[in-house]
């Protein structure tokens, strides 16, 4: 009989199922994985080092580019740490706007995860459906910040500007006549809130569509049930957070346990899994999208009837309005000071975290009292998840590896930082 040996195989870094630039060195026994050694850092941009050389405000757009599928949540953790150290209050309307966009971001993230995960496992349609909805949500980003992805919308002290009264509309082109354009603009006649409200009424039906395609699908279940099981004890020891932890049956959600902004006022449930396998994590995330939809609705109701400022009036932190700046000498000085030197954080250190779609995303700032951080550490949820890949794939087949990478919701922007 022939002698059978383990062999080493390279996976990535350019592989469609690697979700970016992941290189894996696999030790295989036939088709069974013995050991996985992920090589990361191919997208390392030293964000933390760059932040040490930039003012706090200049670092905000870098946060978008960390986890580039949940942009505003990254900003949120960063500005929350700054606000904690400055001890400033964020206007209540800004807090509602933040919560609303946090949840929009969560839906954005989960849609990409769902599409990519299903595509990896072999279901093409879900990907197309998910991107159809993402398009609408990107339009919300664009309406509010001017950018479809890297918004830089959250600022220390609030959000950059109030929600617009009109929603940008499609225009006729040589490919689209007026009739087609009118149809597209049908739900864009009112304000941004009307548009989001329309989305929230449509969205539960869309989730049902995804579930029809996947939840009871025999192939989907064969590929995910019992794959990548993590026990609750191991999930904690491995530093897992977010849906990865909840999928293993631990009810832990920062929005509930350490509420920030106005999450205390929101009514929502925290879905948890039972078995801790890929299928449970899929169910948890699907359910989270439904819960997010509920939170968005509650925010819309509040935002419609409560106008007010959206950024701190403390001009040492937040810039004065343009009009004010043109007419008032003191406002002009504040503006100039803020955009040249920036503001200073008191000497000390702080850590603040948000419940990011992937888990706990936190930033740890050490300040020496300067206008730039002395050290910024970004706690990315994907980092410990990917570190657990070796343990999660032990004894699984090569094709299951792809499902496990999918379930971890890997994004290299945050892991490599």
């Amino acid at each position: 009989m022939a002698e059978i040996k383990n062999y080493t195989m390279n996976f990535g870094p350019q592989h469609p199922a690697a979700h970016g630039v992941l290189r894996l060195v696999l030790e295989m026994d036939g088709e069974v994985i013995q050991r996985v050694d992920p090589h990361i850092g191919l997208l390392h941009r030293a964000t933390e080092k760059l932040a040490e050389n930039r003012t706090y405000l200049q670092s905000v757009p870098y946060m978008d580019r960390l986890d580039y599928v949940s942009m505003m949540m990254n900003e949120h953790a960063f500005v929350m740490t700054i606000e904690k150290m400055l001890d400033i209050n964020v206007p209540i309307r800004a807090q509602y706007i933040r919560v609303m966009f946090d949840e929009i971001t969560r839906v954005l993230n989960h849609l990409l995860w769902l599409g990519a995960h299903a595509l990896d496992v072999g279901a093409m349609t879900v990907f197309l459906y998910a991107f159809r909805e993402r398009e609408d949500l990107f339009d919300c980003y664009e309406a509010v910040s001017g950018a479809r992805m890297h918004a830089a919308y959250y600022r220390p002290g609030g959000v950059y500007r109030d929600l617009p009264e009109t929603m940008p509309k499609f225009e006729t082109t040589h490919k689209k006549n007026i009739k087609q354009v009118n149809k597209l603009n049908n739900n864009r006649q009112g304000s941004l809130l009307d548009f989001i409200s329309d989305f929230t009424t449509r969205f539960p039906g869309y989730i049902d569509e995804y579930e029809t395609l996947l939840t009871d699908n025999r192939i989907w279940k064969q590929r995910t049930v019992g794959i990548g099981v993590v026990s609750p004890e191991r999930a904690i020891a491995l530093g897992m957070t977010g849906p990865m932890l909840r999928g293993s049956g631990i009810e832990w959600d920062l929005r509930r346990k350490q509420p920030y902004e106005v999450y205390e006022q929101m009514k929502f449930d925290i879905p948890i899994g039972k078995e801790g396998d890929c299928y449970d994590r899929y169910l948890v995330r699907i359910e989270e999208m439904r819960e997010s939809n509920k939170i968005i609705k509650q925010c819309i109701d509040w935002l419609r009837i409560n106008p007010g400022p959206v950024i701190s009036i403390n001009n040492k932190i937040a810039p004065p309005s343009r009009e004010e700046m043109k007419g008032d000498m003191e406002a002009m000085i504040h503006h100039f000071k803020l955009f040249t030197e920036g503001f200073h954080l008191p000497e000390g250190e702080a850590y603040a975290a948000v419940e990011h779609p992937k888990g706990e995303f936190g930033t740890y700032i050490i300040s020496d009292g300067a206008n730039k951080p002395y050290r910024l550490k970004i706690r990315a949820p994907g980092f410990p998840h990917l570190a657990a890949l070796n343990e999660m794939t032990q004894g699984h087949m090569l094709s299951d590896l792809v499902a496990i990478i999918g379930t971890q919701d890997i994004v290299f922007g945050e892991i490599d930082r």
Partner: protein, 198 residues
Amino acid sequence: MSNPIQILSQDLKKYFGKKLIKSSVQFHELTITVAASSILDVLKNLRDRKEFDFKQLIDLCGVDYLEYPKGSTNNKRFAVVYHLLSLKKNQRIRVRAFLEDDNFPIIDTITNLWPASDWYEREAFDLFGIMFLDHPDLRRILTDYGFVGHPFRKDFPMIGKVEMRYDPTQKRVVYEPVSIEERNNVPRVINGEGSRNG
């Protein structure tokens, strides 16, 4: 005294006694400083004792205090900072250990306590050159294969030291010293101290 952070702080003082070099509360966060030599013992007790119950290691990072105002750092250059979380008590704690030798910073690994610390320690080694004694697999993690130096140290230039390009004559990627100059449009300013570079 009803503040849970104060209670935890008292409990820590009572239990650890002299091992606790410093304990402070700032921005409603508790930070304790311990000696590098007692880190394993302290973290193990924080994890296993019922009254602390910090079951999860949230973050581990290196810090280079080279340019930090002296005094608060015991004149040590490197430190390792651990962020722990207790799911049951819903509490966080930050543990800091300054490393004795600036030229050869070394501390015990905690991979036996939390497997999650494996990659975090590799990262701290990669970026700061901090050694973790008995770490099973202390390789670089984020930087390039064959990278020289520890980029997050304060004396490492922001623009790096080498740049790479494809050389068509040699038909391979070559590394050369950086050709760009470091640009810093906003000086680092500390109120009342005047400006410093960087």
